[in-house]
Amino acid sequence: MEILREGQGELIGWHDPDEHRRWVRENKSRELKDKTMTVAEAVEKFVHDGDFIACGGFGHIRVPMSLIYEIIRQGKRNLTMAGKTAVHDIDILIGAGCVNRVEVAYAFGHELRGLSPAGRRAVESGKCKVVAEISNAGYQWRFLAGAMGLPFIPSRNLLGTDTFEKSSAKIVRDPWSGKPICLLPAAYPDVAMFHVPRCDKYGNAQIDGILVEDFELARAARRVLVTTEEIVDEEVIRSKPDQTAIPFFLVDAVCEVPYGAHPTQMPYLYFFDEEHIREWLTVSKTEEGTKAYFDRYVFGVKDFEEYLELVGGVRKLSYLKRVEQLRAPMPVQGGGEE
């Protein structure tokens, strides 16, 4: 199997599988123990300057925003982030100066809502560096390889494009068909963060609806932080074990954070807060506006509950619940297309 071509992007988050196995053996507890802690404790304990981080969910869906705000609050620096259709999270982490390196499948855009002023400004000014390109499926499969404890996984995308040239993938000849095939290197993030509807105190987390790439990401990451709408009794999990997306032995911290995905969407529970997202997209057009945003919503509040009050409290959250459950009309927002 000869190597036909090698992408020139930086290889992010790869480990020799033997080295990763050793890390898992020494650092991941198989014990059913209470892992509940505050968001502040979780970030302090498990997120370090220079880490390679990734969030569960997709775009503006099921994003663990309380952890994102806490990373900003604690002033973490030089983070590399997976741009795996990372949208709101990556935009504000770049805007806050926490993330300065990104491997991009999709970033710097807010889908229908338009491009990200903060993220783009940072990349175009050189403050944030794109270290490699990839696609959504490509990133997903990099995590799958990590979840499987493999050095790489084959795929039939990227071939023939500059996305491949700036990726960390390689092209080889498939020994069976004789055709060129792409090999994607595994990605093992240092920290993966998720927001879920329910989780027990041990970290058995369940997700309703689409999993996006959370199943694979949680299994590939070294540290897994879970925020949950509610901490449920172990009994709830054990009565429906096939709904568990992330079992406890993968999880390092469990934090109860109702509405923890705000302003992003929590399927079945609450809708995007379009008003708040629009506010961010508007104020982040300038450095001053960006700074003022963080002063108000991150540094100006002591925790996520105070933030929720600030963005509209019970009235706003009840409204978002009604919209999500199709009991109130969807708000209008900006045009454009992906």
């Binding site: 969910g57 997709f58 775009g59 503006h60 869906i61 259709t85 991009v104 499948a105 999709y106 970033a107 710097f108 855009g109 889908e111 229908l112 809502r113 491009l115 993220g119 783009r120 175009e124 794109v130 390109e133 990839i134 696609s135 959504n136 499926a137 997903q140 499969w141 799958l144 795929s155 039939r156 995308n157 990227l158 071939l159 023939g160 494009t161 500059d162 996305t163 055709k179 060129p180 095939i181 609806g209 689409i210 999993l211 996006v212 790439e213 959370d214 694979e216 969407q265 399927p267 079945y268 999500e324 199709l326 009309p329 969807m330 708000p331 209008v332 927002q333 045009g335 297309e337 992906e338």
Partner: protein, 258 residues
């Protein structure tokens, strides 16, 4: 020409795109116009069009226009709510007939750039990158590209090929290892509908929108577009289609209210 005032350019695009889709086929859609075109097709000639979203929604009954391809609307009353790995694997395994893509710029072979303007290391404008576009453009059977056309966007050479079209021409996709028999199928712009010449794999005009001249079409492209002897006009929206479009997007999020 009195007809022109009776529909907006976006309505026209949505309808033209819907007309391309066949019943009983599967399609990977993004948000915005592609989503609207697919929903329109479902409510008119293609009730059995299977819509799949890259984040894992399979065959939903979409109640209102989703804002994101991962939005809970994309798996509302779906037959499956799965994962990106699952649907991307289905795509790679040949189960997806059509894929809709947007583009910042395109070249004569249907290659697409959505990554940068300028230099990659320090771009003049940083765009979002591939997202699922490279996957769709690589792996679905037929790619449909919807974009704005002008001399800068229909470019001889792209600064960055994010998503593969026919690459450098006939046979190039297969030589690169991309699945056989795939590639761009249609390009739909505000001026017309394009396909690709069988022999050269270069962009070729199929229809021009009502009121658009061949000269306008060529003037809005840096490269030469293949123009057949006979070029029909695109079929304009019917009042029924316009009514359905208002149903699909009542707030005018994409189909701007006139």
């Amino acid at each position: 020409m009195a007809e022109i005032a009776s529909y907006t350019p976006t309505e026209l695009l949505a309808c033209v795109a819907a007309h391309v889709l066949e019943d009983g086929k599967s399609i990977f859609v993004g948000t915005g116009l592609p989503m609207i075109a697919s929903m329109l097709a479902q409510r008119t000639h293609a009730p059995n069009l299977l819509i799949i979203f890259e984040a894992g929604g399979i065959g939903p009954q979409v109640p209102v226009l989703p804002i994101s391809v991962g939005d809970s609307r994309t798996f509302h009353r779906a037959v499956g709510a799965s994962s990106m790995h699952d649907v991307m694997s289905a795509l790679q395994n040949g189960y997806v007939d059509y894929g809709f893509l947007g583009a910042a710029a395109i070249d004569p072979y249907g290659n697409i750039n959505t990554t940068i303007i300028g230099d990659w290391e320090r771009p003049k404008v940083r765009l979002p990158g591939s997202g699922g576009a490279n996957d769709i453009g690589s792996l679905c059977w037929r790619t449909i590209i919807m974009m704005r056309q002008d001399k800068r966007r229909f470019a001889n050479k792209l600064p960055f090929i994010t998503t593969p079209g026919y690459l450098t021409g006939p046979g190039a996709r297969e030589a690169a290892g991309l699945p056989e028999g795939t590639g761009p199928y249609r390009v739909i712009t505000q001026l017309g509908v394009y396909g690709f010449d069988e022999t050269t794999k270069r962009l070729k005009l199929i229809s021009r929108h009502p009121g658009v001249t061949i000269e306008e079409i060529q003037a809005n492209s840096e490269f030469e577009i293949i123009i057949p002897a006979e070029v029909p006009e695109s079929t304009p929206p019917t009042p029924e289609e316009q009514r359905i479009l208002r149903e699909i997007d009542p707030s005018g999020m994409v189909i701007k209210v006139r």
